[in-house]
């Protein structure tokens, strides 16, 4: 079978279409929210929450329950808790994230060790697998990414001003504490959307890479988001097809492709364009 025939064959499989729809949902929502998180220097919240998602998946598998239904409330709740812990000024933001991430990894691996039989399932959640995407995952991804996109659209100017200058945003009547909480909750949703196709350990990179790639090009914020969204959708699409053709974990293929694109864009921008 040639590559072209293999590619044609890919689109005859239902799981491939499901993977592509879920992939585009993740690409859109993570790139939208990523611009605010990266520029607010909050990207590590995504990283921490993805570790919490790992623990939640392990709990789900351990008790033989649908992992995503446990992951959703657990990740969103942790997002809010980390933010509150940070606001109380007793624990710094990065320390709060570090605590949640380390504890969750320990919990996840302990349950995997006790459970024994579900290590293969857990592996697919760690690095993503397009074969495992079910209809429930598809509808969950579409629904959650719609929530993320509509919310960001409605609060766009508020989020932009808060990201740029928090005290000015407060003086302008923006309730920054509530908006920060909203941002953390939306980040949790993006993590949950990405678990199936990208994997718990790699999803946070989809929040960071598109924005960092777009920042090499644009002078304005709206243009940055637009470039981030377009590049993210293209990379996720190509990465998913690549993972099918080369039989790779989908999350790893997408993140590797993001890394390669970032490398060339960075080198072009810093060395050749100057």
């Amino acid at each position: 079978m040639t590559w072209l025939e293999l590619l044609r064959a890919a689109f005859t499989y239902g799981f491939m279409w499901r993977a592509l729809i879920v992939g585009v949902s993740i690409a859109l929502s993570s790139a939208f929210i990523g611009s605010f998180l990266v520029l607010k220097r909050f990207s590590m919240i995504g990283h921490g929450l993805s570790h919490v998602a790992f623990a939640a998946v392990a709990i789900g598998l351990f008790f033989d329950q649908a992992p995503l239904l446990i992951t959703l409330p657990m990740v969103v709740l942790t997002a809010v808790l980390v933010l509150k812990l940070n606001e109380s000024a007793d624990v710094h933001g990065d320390a709060a994230i570090g605590l949640a991430a380390a504890f969750s990894m320990a919990l996840g691996t302990t349950l995997a060790s006790i459970g024994g039989g579900f290590n293969l399932d857990l592996y697919s959640y760690l690095f993503g697998s397009i074969l495992t995407i079910k209809m429930l995952d598809l509808w969950l991804a579409i629904g959650l990414s719609l929530i993320v996109l509509v919310t960001v659209f409605l609060f766009f100017e508020d989020l932009f001003t808060m990201t740029f200058d928090e005290s000015f945003a407060q003086v302008s009547g923006i309730r920054t504490k509530r908006l920060n909480t909203l941002l953390a909750v939306l980040t949790g949703l993006v993590i949950v959307i990405g678990i199936r196709a990208i994997g718990t350990l790699l999803i946070s990179s989809l929040i960071i890479f598109p924005t960092v790639i777009a920042m090499q090009f644009s002078k304005g914020f709206k243009a940055t988001i637009l470039i981030a969204v377009i590049s993210s959708v293209i990379i996720v699409f190509v990465g998913l097809i690549g993972s099918f053709l080369f039989d790779l974990p989908s999350g790893s293929a997408i993140v590797l492709l993001n890394g390669i694109v970032f490398f060339f864009v960075y080198v072009y921008h810093r060395l050749i364009k100057r």
Partner: protein
């Protein structure tokens, strides 16, 4: 002439745990005033302004605003913004209109026109499409001033606006503020270094947690009990200005 009081600050007190940063401060701001709130670092100036703006909780006292409408605000340290932050100058200035919008906040053609007018007013219209983080300190301050003025505020509050500027840029910036004040804009400015600023303002309020002086700059320079501060800041720059 009847002097319109825009704002009256009455016995305002700010505490951080058991430390009193601002201690029963009272003063009024009249329309057309150009006031410098001066004092050493840690004297409670920024806490006072944050309490006036509602950014910090006041333990005691009230701020009576006699006029409704937006307040123009230029926060401290915005000049050293992340150079990589992808915000264009016109996007930054449009933030100044947020206070006039209700949810969901959106900008239309009329808003873009106001942004353009504000950029022209501050002579930075040519920078509209540039990335804010790549501008010089002086250019950034002018853009932030355009942002503070775009909603036609009844008062302009600036927190250490010249601290990151060199002497020439500081003079240019103060000239802009003076022309705005002459055009009717009321200004409240915080500075730890009154040098090069005192000559522009009609009133100096000097504080060390409490107000120790409230009057003209000339009268301020004659305050014997404040001589260490005056000698370090007010006179030093006077000497530099005369030499240059």
């Amino acid at each position: 002439m009847i002097e319109d009081v825009l704002m009256h600050i009455d016995r305002l007190t700010v505490k951080y745990h058991h430390y009193t940063a601002v201690d029963r401060v009272s003063f009024s701001v009249k329309a057309g005033d150009f006031i410098a709130i001066a004092g050493e670092n840690g004297s409670g100036k920024t806490s006072l302004i944050k309490a006036i703006l509602g950014l910090t909780h006041a333990a005691e006292g009230v701020v009576n605003k006699h006029v409704s409408g937006p307040i123009g605000y230029l926060p401290q340290n915005t000049v050293v913004q992340d150079r990589a932050f992808p915000a264009s100058v016109e996007e930054v200035v449009s933030m100044g209109l947020l206070a006039t919008k209700s949810f969901p906040r959106r900008f239309g053609r009329a808003d873009r026109e106001r942004v353009r007018e504000s950029l022209i007013r501050l002579n930075v219209a040519n920078l509209a499409k540039k990335r804010f983080g790549l501008l010089s300190g002086g250019q950034q301050q002018r853009v932030l001033l355009a942002r503070a003025l775009v909603a036609n505020p009844y008062i302009l509050i600036l927190d250490e606006p010249t601290s990151a500027l060199d002497q020439a840029m500081r003079k240019r910036f103060m000239d802009i503020l003076q022309s705005l004040n002459q055009a009717g804009v009321t200004i409240l400015l915080i500075t730890h270094d009154i040098g090069g600023i005192g000559e522009y303002v009609n009133r100096v309020i000097y504080m060390e947690r409490r107000i120790l002086f409230d009057g003209s700059f000339t009268a301020f320079c004659e305050q014997a009990e404040l001589s260490p501060y005056i000698h370090t800041h007010a006179m030093r720059h006077k000497g530099e200005d005369e030499a240059s």
